[in-house]
Symmetry: C2
Subunit: 759 residues, 2 copies
């Protein structure tokens, strides 16, 4: 290179840097940019879906402007007035900021300005929030977390009106509001800020975003890399019982969140309900960094971890887009939440315009009031939508992907309706984890068939503990018996201790979806019980004899000593019939046990196996509600041993505040050492209360039998009413694709390669 | 008149009679007519909704033709193969007949011909149906009722192919099938045929319709006027425990059904679920008579009773079109049922083309494959639809309208969403009646708020008793405690005796909807308990302070002696909170009582009033199911006396077969003589699990108090959180509009005219 060219390059580098640093102090510079605003403005009136959002947002914000600025002295818990008002403020201010940029109407900027001045006036007078009920109490809210939420949104509002406000007022709000608030949620509350946890992600993003608006490098660095010295020790816990620090992990800040919050596949160890919540600060701060610090190349960080995490959010849902409620989750939360609307729009704009995302945006019916939302709406308008299709997928858990995972297998019936099994062999999920190793749940196109209970919590309902986790979350919802997995000696996995559960995890044994007619997932748990190991395999079988894909479930437990095994199935619906006799508790009902969640289950009835196969048939709950149990008909068929006890129970005992849902459970109880629980769940029938016509109300599977069980192999045989039968063989010791297996059973030689064979 | 004109008139009269009698033997002559077929044929391809029905019906019937004729020897109960096959046959044959007429394709006629010959071959060999479990066992089915269903439909098929079949074959099927079947369900089974009951209406219609096809005047007369001598006595009962004969009523046949089945308003004493079922034979036979016997002027009979009954069917539904499940009803049944589709289409064609009916037809999405369906579809296509609007309406019960009734009051909130209260003060409802005098249920636009349990029955579900009424229908669903009305001394109304309940009825005291902001209904029951009378008044109050219309419920019981009063409210949802303390049965649960339905209720908790007002707040069940209780928030506020016991219970005790739904109930228990139970039910809040936002989760009504109670007047005061209050005064002795009332309470003079006053 000659020196002129060298100088020219230097000049342009300088120019680029200069422009870049100039761009950093141009506003808006966070989520909205000058160019983006220009694009939106020039297309107003051309994209109905986006214009609708502008119109409804205007109506919403205009109504608030009408009411006037409301900045009450903080006092209440979530659900109470001051909490809900400040929460409303953060959303309205962010929307007002976007409206100001998009429409140019000054009333929006003025409304923000007045709010900021009111907050700046109040903030210096605020002590710690009077509730003092959080491990990290906030100033405006009862917890720092909500203060951080507020700052993430209000930073955007401030960014939008930065140029509108006189410098003197900017200096005031920065000095009296934004800087001290940023300090409060970071240096003043390291337990909240300096952790790898969704709470801290909000903290990091808040500090970083206000830092970017104010062009404050100290705050930006603190957001990216955390506090240097936090003085935290490893015994501290948060309100949910989660540990603040993880042994051997000392990083903090946004990059640490990106490094440790997700598995390499983008799975979030706490589950999709919490990922949805955590996603907002990840994406908003990442987008802000992408706009301001292209040098960080944040979207490509860790092999596109943010993009992967958005897809994990979408794939960890049922056919309706409802999140699998693993760990602490409120049911009903779905991809229609505002967080996923924003995630889908950003992903569409910034991660390659995947046209399947447009179909989700269409279902959501909303887009964000920014460039991402505009682009999404515009491309829907152009007809670029491709239907989103869920797929079978295994997610690894743990930052390095070595802590088990989640195996999701989906298969359609001939009408395109789905059966989906979710096998959970993930890590514990930190403070929100449940003791449910090798648990599963089952879905069809309408929703839950075999349910995961979710959390015992009524989010934001003041009468139910202000929406916090209820006592029964710990005593029931987290316990093993509340899940569809094996309980030994009426004791939860890891004896219900978080520390022990966090130190271990199940392992995926195989995940094989090559054969679309017999996709399978298998996992092992070795440490939940001393002296007993569990190995569970699920196969989703498609066959012309079956109306819907059939779930086959083989749970092998190995123990030298005899134990009491309880295998609960929380079927979702109303019992129709059983093929065994039982004695019901008719006049007087007692609980199933006294601890580990058993104290919360009424023992409605109990019986004994009469043959080698037990069956229960139930109506699924569907749509409508309306007091009528309706819809599909399901049967679980299980292999039986002569002394198996069969228990029908219902949640709700020892629940004086009626916090629990009165859901039914079927429990197989067996006293044994080594043993195999084999079962199938069949969706075979339906019922329409208007035509009053049942279709196929009886199961087509007549039996399932364990025909071989050894250390090496487990083999079950399933018989269909047509006479057709299937043999499922599982290689217990070597699941490698290359391994060849041979086994002689019932005079027939079974030969196969790999982890399992079914024919 | 000069004699030429006279002769001319005579000539035309003769010509008319001659043409008329000629028309009687032209085919088709029942539901389809030659002219109707012509009109449809000339418009095929022009009305998409109708063309769709033609296409889907063809697909359905073609598939059956493909399978071939299946006429198995009768053997099974409902739900079993032979039952379901013969049932399918009747529908397919009727459809094939209409397709033959409409399309002219002979394969449809041929399929009917072959079926009729197969039935004619089998029928003479049939003994009474082997099940022998009905009070009137059939030949093709387990009950004559289904045999009659079959004949009503197959008569239409025969009519359609009458001219297609050779006379010899017609003679054969008439001799070996139609005539003996008509005899079997009439002269051979008078208990079935000669009664005023929906079963007999089917019998009458079947005999009459085949009589019209065969032009057999004996059968037609028997259909219209019943059997002369039936040899029945008044002690006979049917399978549901209903009496075959009613004292003092000896008529039978179709005209008797028209005279005695409905009240003068068209209300059906068994309720809309059964009216829907009964409607088919009424309308099909009436239509056949209208086509063949214009001299009977059947549509104008009894001041257009059939038209009125169709409207009663439509008005006795919730906002979604689901029937109020009073008496024995399966929930979920709605105006989308095939019976109502046919009723709406016939009503549209023959009763004045009410354009509101078109909107129901649109919701139904289907029309009948005949002229009525064609005309309905064509007028929808023309854009003539007007939205159907439910309205407040009182239905009298009893053939003369003197046996109490049903008061339906509806009011919308500002968003057009409805609150609807259904006050039941009707006659007992024969064999399907419940012991629930002065009961009520409450609805909003989504469905049930305070539910009526309906029947304990799983229609057509083989595993649940073949779909027949279950034991728990008698021991629970019919009992008073299963309803939202007063139980005295743990004994059902009329001591649970049908005969006594049938002999009496409550009376409407007033029904006043003049003031749209305070519509009211009031009724009295004097005979359900010896020595105690009940008077209940419901007011639906609209006010700017209320988000939704407020239900006010004042139940006054008069008794010289002290009794135990239980007032149950079967709220539909999940308890959120109470304002009183209670002790829950946590480890061990017992039943509420031992008889009259109490044995089926688990007593979950019980407490005492702490103040003068009790409140319970609950989440309504809504849409979705999905394991999540969600949606609206409701509160019941009741006036309390110091020793009132407050009980929280749940259905499901003494139910070893899990036939009952585990629904919750709140019971106010009071020991008193004369007493007033006053309460309000408020729909005040909502919750969305996706936004996790509660709106107005607390009630706005803070108290309700009985401030005066005497033989003449009862006055309650309701206080709103805003300080606003309302006083409701009820005139207990004179409800006439003219009567003037004066009462001094709390130093204020109340003056009003009529049955009630609220301000």
């Amino acid at each position: 290179m000659n020196k002129y060219i060298f100088l020219l390059v230097l000049f342009f580098l300088f120019l680029g840097t200069g422009l870049n640093s100039f761009a950093q102090i141009s506003h808006p510079n966070l989520i909205l940019t000058k160019e983006g605003v220009k694009e939106i403005r020039s297309n107003l009136g051309k994209v109905p879906m986006f214009d609708n959002i502008v119109a409804t947002t205007k109506a919403e914000v205009d109504a608030e402007i009408e009411i006037g600025v409301k900045v009450p002295i903080p006092k209440d818990m979530a659900g109470g007035y001051t909490h809900e008002r400040h929460k409303k403020n953060w959303f309205i201010l962010q929307k007002a900021g976007n409206l100001y940029q998009i429409t140019g109407e000054e009333k929006y900027a003025e409304y923000i300005r007045q709010n900021l001045l009111a907050y700046a006036k109040m903030f210096p007078t605020l002590p710690k929030h009077p509730t003092d009920r959080s491990y990290a109490t906030g100033k405006i809210f009862w917890q720092c977390l909500n203060d951080a939420n507020w700052l993430v949104y209000v930073s955007q509002a401030y960014d939008a009106v930065y140029d509108f406000m006189p410098k003197k007022e900017r200096d005031l709000v920065e000095k009296d509001l934004f800087r001290p608030l940023a300090e409060w949620i970071s240096t003043d509350n390291p337990k909240f800020y300096n952790r790898v946890h969704n709470h801290s992600t909000w903290g990091n993003a808040a500090v970083g975003m206000i830092g970017l608006v104010m062009n404050d490098e100290v705050l930006i660095q603190r957001a990216l890399y955390g506090l240097k010295n936090d003085g935290l020790d490893n015994s501290m816990v948060d309100n949910d019982g989660g540990f603040i620090k993880v042994d051997g992990q000392n990083k903090a800040g946004f990059f640490a969140q990106l490094d440790f919050s997700f598995s390499p596949d983008g799975h979030f160890t706490e589950g999709p309900y919490y990922l949805r919540y955590a996603m907002t600060p990840f994406l908003l701060f990442a987008k802000s960094l992408a706009n301001n610090r292209p040098d960080l190349d944040i979207y490509n960080y860790r092999d596109k971890i943010l993009e992967k995490s958005i897809y994990s959010l979408l794939y960890e849902t049922d056919a309706q887009g409802k999140f699998f409620p693993i760990n602490d989750s409120q049911k009903g939360m779905s991809w229609n939440s505002r967080e996923v609307i924003a995630a889908v729009d950003i992903a569409y704009l910034d991660f390659g315009s995947d046209p399947m995302l447009l179909s989700i945006a269409q279902k959501q019916g909303k887009v964000t009031l920014d460039v991402a939302g505009y682009k999404t709406a515009a491309d829907i308008e152009k007809g670029l939508t491709v239907p989103f299709k869920h797929k079978s997928i295994a997610y690894r858990d743990g930052a390095e992907g070595k802590h088990g995972g989640l195996g999701i297998i989906r298969a359609d019936n001939s009408e395109g309706n789905e059966i989906c099994v979710v096998a959970k062999y993930a890590a514990h999920g930190m403070g929100h984890g449940h003791f449910d190793k090798l648990s599963y749940s089952l879905y069809d196109e309408d929703g839950e068939v075999i349910q995961d209970y979710g959390a015992s919590r009524w989010v934001n309902i003041d009468q139910k503990g202000g929406g916090r986790y209820l006592k029964e979350n710990k005593t029931f919802a987290k316990q093993t018996i509340a899940h569809n997995t094996l309980v030994i000696d009426e004791t939860s996995h890891y004896n219900g201790k978080v520390k022990a559960a966090e130190a271990n995890h199940p392992d995926q044994y195989f995940f094989n979806i090559k054969n679309p007619n017999a996709q399978a997932v298998s996992a092992k748990e070795l440490y939940a019980y001393e002296g007993a190991t569990m190995h569970r395999t699920f196969v989703l079988l498609k066959d012309e004899n079956l109306r819907n894909p059939l779930l086959i479930d083989v749970l092998k437990v190995a123990s030298e000593k005899e134990h009491q095994y309880d295998l609960p199935i929380w079927y979702h619906g109303h019992l129709i019939s059983t093929n065994f006799d039982y004695t019901a508790q008719t006049n007087n009902m007692t609980t199933l046990g006294s601890d580990h969640g058993y104290q919360h289950i009424w023992k409605e009835a109990s019986g004994k196996s009469t043959g080698t196969t037990n069956q229960i048939t139930w109506f699924g709950h569907q749509g409508d509600g309306g007091g009528q149990v309706r819809g599909k008909v399901f049967t679980m068929t299980t292999s039986a041993l002569p002394n198996d006890e069969l228990i029908l129970g219902r949640a709700g005992a020892n629940d004086p505040s009626f916090n629990l849902r009165p859901d039914p459970v079927f429990i197989q109880r067996r006293k044994a050492g080594n043993s195999v629980f084999a079962s199938v769940v069949e969706s075979h029938g339906s019922y329409d209360p208007v035509s009053e016509t049942p279709v196929s109300p009886f199961p087509s599977i007549t039996s399932i039998e364990v025909i071989h069980d050894s250390i090496e192999y487990t083999v079950v045989k399933i018989i269909h009413q047509s006479g057709k039968n299937w043999t499922l063989a599982i290689s217990n010791k070597d699941a490698s694709d290359q391994a060849k297996h041979q086994l002689k059973i019932e005079e027939k030689l079974l030969e196969w390669q790999g982890g399992y064979m079914i024919k």
